[in-house]
């Protein structure tokens, strides 16, 4: 037990590790914020494309379906390797000379957009079809119906699962360390190599948890809020 505490939680080790790990964690924060913003927008676009009506839009729908199927099924670590190591090797003008952090954000965005698309789609489909018909019969166009009737309800419903996926994304920024981004996990690894102590990993865990706990509580709060409102509606 003493050995365990010493290896993982020695006060001196933690004190030394925290500034070093924080140094790397800033990169995680940067990646998660940019990726989350991009995912929110792109996933909505893909979800809308997937729900487009009519036969002429089939090719677009097919592309959207192929994209979500493919990237939901591919491990993030694999996508990160392909983008982070493969794209620079292509030696193409803009595509190949980005920083590793950019390739990391790109991988996170592409993989998580595929997940979040499904979340949005579930939200859109949960709005009763009668609402859509009612809106169309009032003379609203398809776009207007989506914008003013369907999406406001759909998005509100999916906020909790959406935040849940974002917690996943925040943690997965640590995977980007494999392509050589010096993030919290990399710094924790350097630290443990230097001092034969796992305090670095504990410090990294601490940072990730500190970031996700408020997020989780906020999600809980939203769920409760919705339940309260919907029950109130019933009464």
């Amino acid at each position: 037990m003493g050995k365990f505490l010493h290896l993982f939680f020695s006060p001196l080790g933690l004190r030394r590790a925290i500034p070093q790990v924080w140094d790397g964690f800033q990169t995680n924060i940067k990646m998660m914020l940019i990726a989350e913003a991009l995912v929110l927008v792109f996933a909505l676009v893909v979800a809308i494309i997937r729900g487009l009506p009519g036969r002429t839009t089939f090719p677009l729908r097919a592309i959207a379906i192929a994209y979500t199927d493919f990237f939901r099924g591919t491990p993030l670590i694999l996508v990160a390797y392909v983008f982070g190591l493969g794209l620079p090797a292509l030696q193409l003008a803009v595509i190949s000379n980005q920083s590793l952090v950019t390739y990391g954000v790109l991988s996170l965005t592409i993989v998580y957009t595929a997940y979040v698309t499904e979340v949005y789609r579930a939200g859109i489909e949960s709005v009763h079809p009668s609402q859509r018909m009612a809106a169309r019969s009032l003379g609203l166009t398809y776009a207007q119906t989506m914008r003013h009737v369907i999406l406001p309800q759909a998005i509100r419903r999916v906020v909790p699962p959406l935040l849940n996926d974002f917690i996943g994304l925040q943690k997965d920024t640590a995977i980007i360390t494999v392509i050589g981004v010096t993030d919290a996990l990399a710094q924790a690894g350097f630290y443990s190599n230097d001092f034969f102590s796992y305090a670095g990993y504990m410090a990294a865990a601490f940072f990730f948890v500190i970031l996700t706990i408020p997020f989780a509580r906020f999600t809980d709060h939203l769920v409760k809020e919705r339940e309260r409102r919907e029950r109130a509606q019933l009464v």
Binding site: T27, A89, L90, I179, T182, F190
Partner: protein, 266 residues
């Protein structure tokens, strides 16, 4: 015609003056006047220090000291160290550094996509013996001993294909720790593994082992990595060769990696 001649003269004059102005002006570094060196994660004794984002400040160790000596030789006063992950090195992607030193062995396959400098370190195999064993003086003497190695290493291949010991060698997978423990526990007479690794271990626990008995030449060399066909290569090669000739490289090896330098076993 006269115009062309004067132009040619002007160019010739400019190049000669540049050549006389000192070496630094003519060294084609990525950023003029600055030497950019790539390192990966800290490698004890090769380079020690801390990575911040993508840069490394004031590293110490063999490769750090050697890169500083190279800069001095080339007349460059400013060195910037950048993190260049090992996994990204062997690709045709343009490099952000002038050269990277990452204990990379020069191989034909790697040379297809990158240029290597002249070797700066002989990555020989070291023989770490157990306590109480008389130091073997030749490779033939190793044949009679209980040898051990780590799986998938040059050391193991050397034991199996060249030494061919009488007793089957013990093979430890995954980490070198298990192999070191076997020598410490006297289950194994001699461990054959990269010489800087066994030397560092012998230094760390001097009373656990009988010391590094010698090194075996395997013709593996570490080289610095550059863009394929880099214009910087002739300058770097000249600097490394000069530093080898004047004994700087040996001095740095002694200071950071091997002290004393184990004898070569034949």
């Amino acid at each position: 015609m006269i115009k062309a001649l004067t132009l040619a003269l002007a160019v010739a004059l400019a190049t000669t003056t540049a050549a006389f102005a000192g070496s630094s002006a003519s060294v084609p570094t990525k950023k003029p006047g600055v030497l950019t060196v790539g390192f990966d994660v800290p490698a004890p004794s090769f380079w020690n220090g801390r990575v911040t984002g993508t840069t490394i400040k004031n590293p110490t160790g063999f490769e750090a000291a050697l890169s500083q000596a190279i800069a001095k030789k080339l007349g460059i006063t400013k060195i910037v160290y950048k993190r260049a992950p090992f996994g990204t090195l062997f690709s045709p992607a343009p490099k952000s550094f002038d050269f990277a030193m990452e204990e990379a062995t020069i191989t034909a396959a790697r040379s297809k996509v990158v240029s290597f400098s002249a070797p700066y370190f002989d990555a020989n195999q070291g023989v770490l013996i157990r306590k109480g064993l008389a130091k073997p003086k030749s490779i033939a003497a190793l044949k009679k001993l209980q040898l051990c190695a780590q799986s998938d290493t040059t050391g193991l291949a050397y034991i199996q294909h060249t030494i061919r010991p009488k007793k089957k060698a013990l093979v430890y997978s995954a980490s070198s720790t298990a192999a070191f423990d076997a020598v410490e526990a006297k289950k194994c007479d001699a461990l054959i593994l990269d010489v800087p690794i066994v030397a560092a271990q012998a230094k760390k626990k001097p009373h656990a082992y009988g010391g590094v008995a010698g090194q075996i030449v395997t013709h593996e060399f570490y080289g610095a990595i550059m863009d394929k066909g880099s214009k910087f290569k002739p300058h770097l090669d000249a600097a490394i060769k000069a530093l080898k000739a004047n004994g700087t490289v040996t001095r740095l090896v002694k200071k950071w990696l091997l002290n004393p330098i184990p004898p070569i076993l034949k």
